[in-house]
Amino acid sequence: MSAAINLDVLNEHRSYLVRYAILQLRDPHLAEDAVQETLVAAIESKSKFSAQSSLRTWLVGILKHKILDVLRKRSREPQLNVPDGEDESELVDALFKENGHWADPPQTWADPEQSMENTHFWEIFEQCNQHMPINTARVFMMREFMDMTTEEICQELAISTTNCWVLLHRARLSLRECLDLKWFGNAR
């Protein structure tokens, strides 16, 4: 093991970890708690850290487990697990006509790859994530951001595979609309 792991070293990663946790948990306090537990766990198990991987990657690995713990706890507390205010299927209904064709067919996006180099694009991307209904966003972030498989997500949230696919699809449709409107300038 090369660099010693102590609180100072770990604190350099704190703000990154908090932002990571907020994206998934959408609650700054819960995110802070999860990060705190992550740092404690990191100190306790620092002998398990191998210098072959980056410290940040290792910390994110621990944080993912802590985030899942929080989600598990919350799903057992019905008062926190309130359904979304809006009907999530409304979005899908609005995008397609009765006959299943696009109400407003997607137009070409100009140079999306270039957008990834733009800081402002990532702000919009985060905003669009926040804009999604919370259950939809949660599944999407578990899948894409935390890199879990559909099977793991289903098990974690006790939902069916089909339900999981439906939520992921809605998330993608919603993100596409939002990016189209707020970034790619195809607002019509």
Binding site: R19, L23, V60, L95, W109, F145, W165, L168, H169, R176
Partner: protein, 58 residues
Amino acid sequence: MLDCKQNTELLSQSLERPITLRERMAMRMHLMMCRGCRNFEKQLAFIHKAARELPRKL
């Protein structure tokens, strides 16, 4: 014959599970005729890529 709504569902599911040959053919047929869905397909791939890039952009 797939409509756009069904086609987008399949495109999305192709990121989650192996797609059968029959489904793949149906999607290809639809995409040949539908510019909106061709754009959607590219944008879906972009969103997938961008979401996976997000942790590095925080």
